[in-house]
Point group: C2
Chain length 359, copies 2
């Protein structure tokens, strides 16, 4: 019997994925040349579907890369001459900060205290910061920054670039891309796809910055720098031989999501999130890690065990076939993380909540 995965990524597959893969096996997709007209048609259709699903304006470019972690490196190389500013609530915000150091930038950071969260507009962002880096939803702690706070940044700092890691919240998160310069995500979380593809949505302002840095002789990367990615994207190609299967599947699943309606799925996600937060707030065995409701991530619910329940949980998983995520890093055995993605049905969330409450 197949298990039901509430892990935070890789997670439960979107229900149509296996059917799409089975169909691919009847075709020649795996042997298709990435320089063929056929490939460019598939690429064009995928791009159109993503633009329509996520309401990405035509001003912004879409790039296909390999992971969210890679997107951090690309963003920093292409958007920063010297100074980036990182607002971080957990491990993935810290990873973004570390990448800035590794590529030789001079980052500064504001660490959000998750026990006492402040809104973005109270954070003092240095004048010299060229790029503001945010993790919209940090999977390690289950904290989400409300999109309204993110959208305000551009109004307050029109000259700064804004980069947003939405790895744990896309396509649930509903962003105004006109106010953002580099938004990136991967597909093994909210889209319910196999792992192995990253997507970047990049503004003209960010592209200009990359061109400026390249002219000044900065190292903006090789095949995955913005100008090269843009030149290939304009031809509906990728610089290197890409993960064709993933591009195909993303196009198909994005269409499947559109058929149901992304707004409907976002509402259902909100309903499921309510149920899951009720579980961790009301059941004796758990307490939520993020207490301030405004900042509780709808897509990743993180809770600590009130008593030592790790072994019981493992036993329960074996018996039920439901699998939830372990705590991040050092919290492996003291916390649980429950994903709430499009692939998680209301019925399964209900069952999970009821069963876990009795743990």
């Amino acid at each position: 019997m197949k298990k039901i995965f509430f892990t935070v990524g890789p997670s439960q597959l979107y229900p149509t994925v296996e059917e799409h893969i089975a169909k691919v096996l009847q075709t020649d997709l795996f042997s298709m040349s990435h320089r063929s007209a056929e490939f460019s048609e598939m690429y064009f259709e995928l791009e159109q579907t993503l633009r329509s699903l996520l309401e990405i304006p035509s001003t912004h470019s879409i790039f296909f890369i390999n992971s969210g972690t890679e997107a951090m490196e690309i963003t920093l190389r292409n958007c920063v001459e010297k100074n980036s500013f990182h607002i971080s609530s957990g491990a993935f915000g810290k990873r973004f900060l570390q990448s800035a150091k590794e590529v030789g930038k001079q980052p500064e950071t504001f660490g959000i205290d998750i026990a006492n969260i402040v809104s973005l507009d109270t954070i003092n962002i240095p004048k010299k910061a060229e790029l503001i880096c945010l993790t919209q939803t940090d999977t390690s702690v289950g904290m989400a920054i409300p999109v309204e706070e993110i959208h305000q940044l551009k109004k307050k700092y029109p000259d700064k670039l804004v980069a947003v890691d939405t790895v744990a919240s896309m396509p649930y998160v509903n962003l105004n891309y006109a106010l953002l310069d580099s938004v990136f995500f991967s597909v093994q979380k909210g889209f319910g796809l196999p792992a192995g593809l990253g997507i970047m949505i990049v503004s003209p302002h960010a592209l200009e910055k990359a061109n400026y840095l390249q002219k000044k002789g900065y190292d903006i990367g090789t095949h995955h720098n913005f100008p090269t990615l843009k030149a290939f994207a304009d031809k509906k190609q990728t610089p290197e031989t890409p993960n064709l299967l993933e591009l195909y599947l993303l196009g198909k699943v994005a269409k499947d999501i559109e058929k149901v309606g992304i707004e409907i799925l976002r509402k259902i996600t909100d309903e499921k999130a309510k149920k899951l937060y009720r579980l961790v707030e009301r059941c004796d065995g758990f307490a939520p890690v993020i207490v301030n409701k405004k900042y509780q991530a709808p897509t990743v619910i993180v809770a600590k065990f009130v008593k030592d329940n790790f072994e019981n949980l493992k036993q329960w998983e074996k018996e039920t076939g439901f699998i939830v995520g372990e705590g991040y890093g050092a919290n492996k055995e003291t916390q649980i993380r429950i994903a709430n993605f499009l692939a998680h049905t209301e019925k399964d969330v209900e069952t999970l909540a009821n069963m876990l409450c009795r743990l």
Copy 2:
């Protein structure tokens, strides 16, 4: 009806791939956590299989990345302080050179004249060069550097690092890794797998150099620098969420290849290569691009049309279901490229050669 792909990559799938994918659909592989013990077991097994298949010594590390193009960038950042030296016969050698410039190194180059090929030992390699970069088989022109010439480099230049792009020749090419520092390839060519995975085989000497460069404050990359890749490889993990399907398939196909015997498959490849070179040498319609037999790539046969036959070829492909590669770049309509990988059967090579000769 499915076509038969003699294109140079993506190409014909290894015959067992579709069966392996169909089996994966019965499992929970796509939802497997990349931080689980289960994943590390799969990783360990894959690593062992590759070591055994390719005779990779235990001194050398194996890293899983995303593409051959990415491997060039990683190699240059991690093995070069200032000077690399590039021996190039075609477009992929040039790509390696361009990457060196893009990451701010000072590369020098020797361009092999494919009409008058000289052996490696006659090339004057500057004293200051820290890394010698080679494209063992360049898919754009179908030229291969004999492995014996490559192995001699380390004896002549024991202090220099040697990097070899084997994207178009692995696992046919039989290397002595003890004499090499960064060997890289992807899986959509010789292994007959779907595209989306790169592999690097890295020496202790190269790792030391990366550590030295990192300590000196050089930008060696972020999640895919050698020290980070090594730290995760030691845990049998990857730094980011990887392409799980590809790792799984590579492990399975490498085992399938071992069952048949890599030496047998290499001999069959040689036999098929003879047939294909006979085709392009003896048939009126073609002439080989590489005339010197010593440097003719066994895995990629490139020929020019003697008369304008591009449209005839396209018509022939439609009628027969056989697809060959077009010429590279500007040679798209004036040359053909025929792949000769493990997935190409002797029977299909025979049929192809007979039919093409009548074009």
